[in-house]
Amino acid sequence: MGLEFLQLSLAPLLIGVLAAVACALPGNFLVLRRQALIGDAISHVVLPGIIAAFLLTGTVSAWPMMIGAAGAAVISVALIELVRRLGRVEPGAAMGLVFTTMFAGGVLLLEQSDTSGVHLDVEHALYGNLESLIWIDAEGWGSLLDTGALAGLPPQVARLAIVLAGLVAFLWLFWRPLAISTFDPGFAQSVGIRNGPLGFALVTATAVAAVAAFDAVGSIIVIAMFVCPPAAARLMTNRLGRQVAWSVGFAVVSAVLGYVLAGYGPLWLGAANSVSAAGMIATVSGLILAAACVLGPQRKRTGEAAA
């Protein structure tokens, strides 16, 4: 049991938790800024970015793909802003327009190009390949201290850990201006906080989280984790710091519970095969949100609670 867990489950669990938390953290601010859709947008435009990178470099190695995805994310953010200004439409409509168009372009690109020989397909883009990220070098619990064996961990673990550390540093450093500019942008500007660059930094951090998570777990988790844990956390507390803490907790629970349920749940129910861990993690996060809607102590909002 111990060895099997180390080899087959430890890395996917770690990656799932890291990806979920990395998406939930910036998701708190996106949800409060009514920009939750931007996480959705970014995770969709990642697909054409990755395919473009593959077509340009001819390899499926991680870094060109990450750079292609990040480039596509930045382009999409610029395009959304452009459509919003030139088309004079509301931000949600601009996001919807840009990400569906770019995602569709990515699918066309994928079908037209000769990518059949490599593991690059739409299903992979949606669900990721969490279950395949195994740690074959593990020989026992001692391997956790063995640098040689640790080097055999899937590279996504280290990549996500670095991204998560960067996100934590960004939020810690800019917590105060982010909070002020999210609540009251006019006041923020009047005390010298530059809303424009700060908002762009937040979206860039979101893009980095989305790209790093996408590679490991696919876009379903990314979209769910940007929205569900923060939205559920908002219903648990009326303070921003505590909301972020709750959202991290919910993200961890979703990832662990989702992974376990996907692996063993169907077997317990007598079915033969496991189901997609990514799909189950996203489902659990949605169920947590539903539970928070019914049970959360702060589910009463302005007006109702004033009595």
Binding site: L32, L173, F174, R176, P177, A179, I180, T182, F183, D184, P185, G186, F187, Q189, S190, V191, G192, I193, R234, T237, N238, R239, L240, R242, Q243, Q298, R301, T302, A305, A306
Partner: protein, 269 residues
């Protein structure tokens, strides 16, 4: 510029305050959303220790004027000086109170959290909130009669209470100039009195107060100067000089009936 500020009337020379003792001067401020300017080439001078109402019809650009001079909306042109310095160098001299309805009060924060946002100039990115900061925020809340509500979630406040919290945040800034956008909009009578009281105390301390104001009937009671605005500047100065039936007619066009102006019982005219 000075010659324009010397106005001859009734054979007397009236000098408006010179730039040296002005807290805030605005020259040629133009702000535009799209093709049509919302504020066009407005000059204004707010003397230190004065209390000015910005008055004009809906859509006259009153709020935009404030946002433009603060840099919240990027002006097409114009120059702003705060005690002779640029706005970028004088942020901590300015406290801005936006319209209450401009923010989402469902934001996860308590009253005290919002007031502490007023300490951002002092705290910056990473300085911890000390007992001294907390006491300053509580003192600001006390001045607006909201000390008992410090731990309350902001979404649970009435409109008047929300406005008081915004004013407390501005008080915590300990600024020399207070710019308020419709501070009396949708508040109860008790809150209106409390806010006026606080603004008068600020003036008594030598601070400068500028407020966008809608209710023409209280301009004379609350303020000592007026800036009449309708995209362009219509008039500016002490009430007796600028708050006249002719100027009001010019600012509001036909939208203000002569009888309404009569009811204001303006002294000058």
């Amino acid at each position: 510029m000075m010659t324009a500020e010397l106005i001859a009337r009734d054979g007397r020379l009236i000098t408006t305050p010179q730039a040296e003792d002005a807290a805030l001067t605005v020259r040629g401020l133009t702000v535009s959303y799209g093709a049509k300017p919302a504020v066009f080439s407005v000059d204004a001078t707010f003397p230190a220790g004065s209390m000015t109402a910005i008055v004009g019809p809906n859509g006259a650009g009153k709020s935009t004027f404030l946002k433009g001079l603060l840099g919240i909306e990027t002006p097409l042109s114009g120059e702003v000086r705060v005690f002779g310095r640029t706005m970028g160098r004088a942020r901590r001299d300015i406290a801005y109170v936006p319209q209450r309805a401009s923010v989402d009060w469902d934001f996860p924060a308590r009253v005290i959290d919002v007031v502490e946002m007023g300490l951002y100039g002092e705290l910056g990115l990473l300085r911890f909130v000390t007992r001294g900061h907390r006491e300053k925020a509580m003192a600001a809340l006390d001045r607006v009669g909201m000390a008992d509500f410090a731990e309350r979630q902001i979404g649970q406040l009435s409109g008047g209470q929300q406005q008081r919290v915004f004013l407390a945040r501005a008080l915590a800034q300990e600024a020399r100039i207070y710019l308020l956008d419709e501070p009396f909009a949708g508040v109860d009578a008790a809150t209106e009195r409390a806010i006026v009281e606080v603004l008068r105390l600020l003036r008594a301390e030598g601070r400068t107060v500028v407020a966008v104001h809608h209710d023409l009937s209280t301009v004379g009671d609350y303020f000592d100067r007026v800036l009449l605005l309708n995209v362009r500047r219509i008039a500016e100065g002490a009430l007796a000089e600028a708050f006249t039936p002719q100027n009001l007619q010019a600012a509001y066009g036909g939208r203000l009936a002569a009888t309404q102006i009569d009811e204001l019982r303006l002294g000058a005219g």
